[in-house]
């Protein structure tokens, strides 16, 4: 028995040593190491897991190799807090020595990672799905690239759609941090210009459980509510609003009606039907590339294996950014010499073919791309899905404004009470 135990111990140690070996033996540049950072804990855990699926799909589509080099993906998790995200990124960059880092997921994290990227010139940082404007608009970092459009761009077009529906006055209910500020700005930039009014904005803490005080403040004379809440928060709000007898129609933010909210199994989910929202994806977009992408996603991650019926926004943006990294690597034939000089040059100038259309970067390495305005409908199977109302191409980060007129979205900017 004792000898048995000892021999088992020996086997375990040997196995551990063997597992560590490849890392040592082939560190000399053969596989290309890509760090993948998403939130597997905290309020966006479901979204983070789907983001990872999207990124893995991009790797799988290239059968795990690019330009003859094997792709080695190393994962890390955060919980949507910037300090945790930077700790996780530091592990990927300084301990695991990745060449490229794809991530993070949420706005505040994105700004923190952008700041961190300035001290790590040997690594190319490509965003995950973080959508804060400041990450590329304020003090941009030369080695931080974002191939997804951001929070304000995602909402461009919703203002017009709301006016078309006859909503003249809208109250805003949004989480109190940078990403919803951007979302609200993207909506209001167009809405206010077309003559709409926003008499009241209620900023609620992220992860709040009780919305009764906000619901009590909703004025009688508004035509609709703009709800920019993510994941579990949105579900909480909807339940409480429904319970208190609310009946105002809803406008949704880009992550309010993402697939993980549409998948909500509660009784109240029918109240989501008719909600219009805007974002970089639309489940029912009928472009051929989009359909192929959705089919690929469903094949790789069937619902029975934990996937969503249709890829979420997080899956899509992570896919987009990972694809950009791999396409860039393929274009330079895997050449990452001289601090990735050629690779970064290619990333800055290439046209990325994505399932929703072409994407190019502006001078701050920020994507200029397509936004969809969608309406929630019920399909024949009873699943909630979205229908495209409007497709707006080439939305840039300044929302069509001149640089000198543009102000970063905050709690009070823009305003049209």
């Amino acid at each position: 028995m004792k000898a048995n135990k000892r021999s088992m111990m020996r086997t375990v140690i040997c196995a551990a040593a063997l597992a560590a070996l490849p890392g040592l033996a082939f560190a000399q540049g053969q596989p290309v190491k890509i760090g993948l950072l998403a939130t597997l804990e905290g309020p966006f855990a479901a979204g983070g897991a789907d983001g990872m699926r999207g990124a893995e799909l991009a790797v799988a589509q290239r059968a795990g190799t690019v330009a003859g080099r094997k792709i080695e993906v190393i994962k890390a998790s955060s919980n949507a807090n910037p300090d945790v995200a930077v700790n996780a990124a530091r592990k990927l960059v300084e301990q695991d020595k990745v060449d490229i880092l794809v991530g993070p997921l949420s706005g505040g994290e994105g700004i923190a990672i952008k700041d961190y990227s300035k001290s790590q010139q040997q690594v190319t940082f490509i965003n995950g799905s973080s959508g804060a404007q400041g990450a590329t608009l304020v003090n941009p970092s030369a080695n931080f690239f974002r191939f997804n459009t951001e929070g304000a761009q995602w909402m461009f077009g919703l203002g017009k759609a709301a006016m078309d529906k006859g909503y003249k006055r809208v109250m805003v209910i949004a989480e109190d941090y940078s990403f919803p500020y951007s979302q609200v700005q993207g909506f209001m930039a167009q809405y206010c210009a077309l003559g709409g009014k926003v008499p009241l904005k209620a900023w609620v803490p992220l992860g709040g459980k009780d919305y009764s005080s906000v619901i009590a403040r909703i004025p009688k004379d508004v035509d609709a509510l703009l709800v920019v809440l993510g994941g579990a928060d949105a579900v909480n709000f909807l339940t409480q609003y429904e319970n208190s007898g609310g009946d105002k129609p809803m406008l949704g933010g880009s992550i309010t009606v993402s697939q993980d909210v549409l998948n909500y199994k509660g009784k109240r989910r029918d109240s989501l039907v008719g909600t219009i929202s805007a974002g970089p994806i639309a489940d029912s977009f009928d472009g051929a590339e989009w359909k192929a992408f959705v089919a690929d996603y469903r094949k790789a991650y069937p619902v029975s294996a934990g996937g969503f019926p249709s890829p979420s926004l997080f899956a899509y943006t992570y896919y987009q950014n990972m694809k950009a990294a791999l396409d860039g690597l393929a274009a330079v034939n895997g050449d990452l010499s001289a601090n990735h000089a050629k690779f970064r040059q290619t990333l800055s100038t290439m046209t990325l073919k994505t399932p929703t259309g072409n994407i190019k970067l502006d001078e701050n390495r920020q994507a200029v791309g397509t936004t969809f305005v969608t309406e929630v409908v019920k399909d024949s199977k009873g699943d909630l899905t979205t229908k495209v109302l409007l497709k707006v191409d080439n939305v840039n980060q300044l929302l069509g404004m001149k640089k000198e007129d543009f102000q970063l979205g905050t709690r009070d900017v823009p305003a049209c009470p």
């Binding site: 998790s77 910037p82 300090d83 592990k91 505040g108 700004i111 923190a112 700041d115």
Partner: protein
């Protein structure tokens, strides 16, 4: 025994006792009293020298050599972070181990010091006042000491689970304050780019300087607690932990001692908080959220609260698990491993790692004692 007999016996005994001790004490008192005055400092040094054992020097050398052997990542993210979190946990294990008071607000106190550094000093946000770092440090530590004393003053009249509830409530209240206040604390986004000052031409955020700073503070905190618990104040505090009513009737002010203990722990947590914000370079409400309040308790319990060393041991295990668990197990399940290890340690050793170590040592000594008696037999 009758009352009179008993009284006689007692008085005789006490007389005899005083007589005996009197003669015993008086004889050597003459020469030694002068000696003790002149040599009190030297004997103290001697006692210190005697208490330093080879293993202490070995530990110190290992700690000093670490940054030159390990990678900068390990030095910074694992070692420095462990020392800093250990310092915050030390403030809790001092309160819990020597004062018998479990406070969940220690991370909030550390966060107050951190927020003070961010608000009064330099950061990437316009709110910061940009004062000189020396002034900022004094204010940060002062704020944490005063805040901790106030928390103590509120909570020391309660016991056990009620203390935990009150301190938890204070911690959560502070979290929501910084989350929802924009004019001073900048809400959800908090403060970015809060870097330590460049002093003596050294960038204190580089791995080795930060590690050195953390190690110095951690050692200072460790020896400070070691020293404090042997002073009359520390002894009285431990007496209060064991039996507050008896200490009260002996004339000790229980409340004052407990509040003072809170103030001391506030200083330790404040130093930890300042180092933590320099380490992270940013602070946001997430840094003082419920998760962190409980993490500090987990660290203290993991290591064991019977000795100041426990806090640092617990922090090392905690940080190692947080950093590397994701490499060992499936990406979505790594928190399970962390929880499992914590559960195992607490289950098998109620007094944390220190308890485990003590149990191992006791077993080893027992084995040695057995062998030595065998050997002594002819």
């Amino acid at each position: 025994m009758s009352a009179a007999k008993w009284r006689r016996a007692m008085s005789a005994g006490s007389l005899a006792g005083t007589g005996q001790t009197g003669t015993h004490r008086q004889e050597p008192a003459g020469p030694s009293s002068k000696e003790s005055v002149s040599s009190s400092t030297s004997t103290r040094l001697g006692r210190m020298r005697a208490s330093i054992k080879p293993r202490h020097i070995l530990c110190l050398l290992a700690a000093l050599a670490l940054p030159f052997v390990a990678t900068p990542f390990f030095t910074y993210q694992v070692a420095a972070q462990s020392l800093i979190l250990g310092l915050v946990a030390l403030s809790l294990s001092f309160l819990a181990g020597y004062g018998g008071m479990v406070s969940l607000a220690q991370m909030s106190v550390a966060g107050m010091a951190g927020y003070a550094v961010a608000v009064l000093g330099v950061s990437g946000t316009e709110i910061s006042l940009g004062w000189h770092w020396g002034v900022v440090l004094v204010f940060a530590l002062l704020i944490s000491v005063v805040a901790s004393a106030l928390i103590g003053w509120l909570s020391v009249r309660t016991d056990g689970i009620y203390t935990i509830m009150i301190t938890l409530a204070i911690g959560v209240a502070f979290y929501y304050l910084v989350l929802q206040n924009y004019s001073v604390f900048n809400g959800f986004q908090g403060f970015q780019k809060v870097h330590p000052p460049v002093v003596l031409g050294i960038k204190w955020r580089d791995p080795i300087p930060l590690y050195g700073l953390a190690l110095t503070c951690a050692l200072a905190g460790y020896f400070f607690v070691q020293w404090l618990v042997r002073t009359p104040f520390g002894i009285a505090l431990q007496g209060i932990r064991d039996n507050p009513r008896r200490m009260n009737s002996l004339g000790y002010n229980v409340t004052a001692h407990r509040v003072a203990a809170y103030a001391v722990s506030g200083l330790l947590a404040g130093v930890g908080g300042v180092l933590l914000i320099w380490y992270n370079g940013l602070i946001s409400p997430g840094s003082v959220g419920t998760g962190w309040l409980i993490n500090i308790l987990v660290i203290a319990v993991l290591g064991g609260t019977k000795h100041p060393l426990g806090a640092f041991l617990g922090a090392a295990i905690f940080v190692l698990m947080q950093t590397f668990a994701i490499d060992l197990i499936d990406r979505e399940r790594f928190n399970l491993l962390i929880g499992g290890v914590f559960l195992a340690i607490v289950l098998f050793s109620p007094d944390g790692l220190l308890g485990l170590w003590a149990a191992l040592r006791a077993r080893w000594q027992l084995a040695q004692a057995k062998t030595s008696t065998i050997r002594r037999r002819p």
